[in-house]
Amino acid sequence: MRSAEESKRRFLLGAGGLSALLLTGCDRLSETEWFPKVLRTHETLSRSVHQLLGSRPSMAQEFTEADVSPFFRSNGTSMPEGEEYKALVKSGFANWQLEVGGLVEEPTRLSLAELRAMPRRTQITRHDCVEGWSAIGKWTGVPLSNVLALVKPRPKARYVVFHCADAMGGSLTPEYYYESIDMDDALHPQTILAYGLNGNDLPIPNGAPIRLRVERQLGYKHAKYVMRIELVESFANIAGGQGGYWEDNGYQWYAGI
């Protein structure tokens, strides 16, 4: 039976070697220029299939009051740095104005009071973080489609970009958080600029004075501390060019998965 023993020994050695090879191989591939691009094809594939499956605007699941999480976790920034934001907090966001511009006919500025006076939508939805956790909250806000109707997007506008007040990666070279969504998501009935969470004003850790809700995508798309909305044809010239802060740091632009 020596040969069987030998086989087993050789197999175990081989298996160990193979898995080490697999690991270093995968890590090497991750560091090449071309392989991550091959991997990234899944994004286009999934997004195309999703769009094919949902020709009608599909709605995210809505929950009941009883489902609301007693604690709504804040992730990333919980208090933007800088004097400007501090001053806004001090005044209760009375002097805050949302700037809406870019490829629109009638750029405008809207105060929090003006946004609150617009048609509102309240929805109890589940927030899914890319890290894996979920929390359920009751959001109140103005549908983005109503805001866009005010400014009249030009036909060339393809994306809506949200510029935020929170600087990421230290104050030496501040990179402001930003995100972008396409017009389909922008005009979706559940896409709102939320100023309320669970019946109260939106808390600072969750993005006061307003945050985006784009319910069919992961949490990092839901930009907090939104200061300015810009309609663009392409986001290639904004910051890192990938359409968002996390996208510039390697994450997928399409976060429906």
């Binding site: 039976m1 020596r2 040969s3 069987a4 086989s7 087993k8 197999f11 298996a15 697999l22 690991l23 995968c26 890590d27 991750s30 991550p36 091959v38 991997l39 990234r40 094809t41 899944h42 994004e43 594939l45 999934s46 999703h50 499956l53 949902g54 599909s58 709605m59 995210a60 699941q61 809505e62 929950f63 489902d67 999480s69 007693p70 604690f71 709504f72 976790r73 589940r126 899914d128 973080c129 890319v130 890290e131 894996g132 956790w133 979920s134 929390a135 359920i136 319910e215 069919r216 995508q217 992961l218 996390w246 740091n249 390697g250 994450y251 997928q252 976060a255 429906g256 998965i257």
Partner: protein, 279 residues
């Protein structure tokens, strides 16, 4: 085995064509895809190393399962794994481990078990979703192939008489007794049931639970994930089934090793399996 044939009369052997080319290709494609899915999945788990039941992670109830790290009074990190509230010290493997260069790694699963090794959630997601597509397309091809080529009916479906002999088959497996001669051309009944439950229960379930974590796919038919108990339940199911598949792999490889490793490897690579005709 070679030793045994020297002492007794040399038994005639021949090569039997056991696995069709398409099955062999799909087998190895599946193996590579599942291995990468498993290891990149462990990496994704590391981004939030706790599992829950229901839709929310913050329902007020503690997680069902959690891998974490805490500091001892002297500052030394301790890896902690909690299962239904019971705590285990898993320093060295889970919660606290070491990178290849000796540095302390405080992620749940050790770097040697994850793809990529160094922490990058976005990269792990790219690996996971790319190979998820390969795995699903391969799986769909396999299901169609096995239905139309009658592979399913001919090789995998157990017959009535086989099912009646399930007790004997269990005893044979426990004794590490393996069929030879004509019997070795077919899968045994336990093997058939194991393959069928992996192909038609575990793999579809792991896919479904994976889909249930996609917020966009959730919206296709709002509320369909309730069937799995909610998104966090789906994540828990995805994790458990992934480990059941790992367990299957361990048993599968064990059986391959003890029942003639090189013979099996050859038959899964070239298709040809050596049969010893009984005297």
């Amino acid at each position: 085995m070679a030793a045994a044939s020297i002492t007794s009369a040399p038994s005639p052997t021949y090569l039997y064509y056991r696995h069709a080319l398409s099955v062999r290709i799909m087998h190895w494609t599946n193996f590579i895809a599942l291995t990468i899915l498993f290891m990149s999945g462990l990496h994704i788990f590391n981004a939030h190393s706790a599992l829950y039941w229901g839709d929310s992670s913050y329902s007020g109830r503690p997680p069902l399962f959690e891998i974490t790290a805490r500091q001892r009074a002297n500052g030394e990190p301790v890896g902690v794994t909690r299962v239904f509230g019971r705590e285990f010290d898993t320093t060295g493997v889970l919660g606290v481990s070491k990178y290849a260069n000796g540095e302390i790694n405080q992620h749940a699963f050790p770097a040697w078990a994850t793809i990529p090794g160094g922490y990058s959630l976005s990269m792990a997601r790219d690996w996971h979703f790319f190979f998820a597509w390969i795995f699903v397309l391969n799986g769909v091809a396999y299901v169609f192939y096995s239905l139309f080529s009658r592979h399913l009916k001919r090789d995998l479906a157990p017959t009535g008489s086989e099912l009646r002999q399930i007790g004997t088959s269990i005893v044979d497996h426990v004794k590490f007794k393996h069929p030879s001669g004509e019997e070795a051309k077919r899968y045994n009944v336990l093997q058939k049931l194991a393959y069928l439950s992996v192909i038609f229960v575990l793999l579809p379930l792991v896919i479904l639970a994976g889909w249930a974590m996609s917020p966009w796919l959730n919206s296709l038919i709002p509320g369909w994930t309730d069937w799995l108990g909610g998104r966090q339940s789906a994540r828990t199911i995805h994790f458990i089934v992934a480990w059941l598949l790992f367990l299957f792999l361990a048993v599968h490889v064990f059986e391959v090793i003890i029942s003639g490793f090189w013979n099996h490897m050859r038959s899964m690579i070239t298709g040809r399996y050596r049969i010893k005709t009984e005297a």
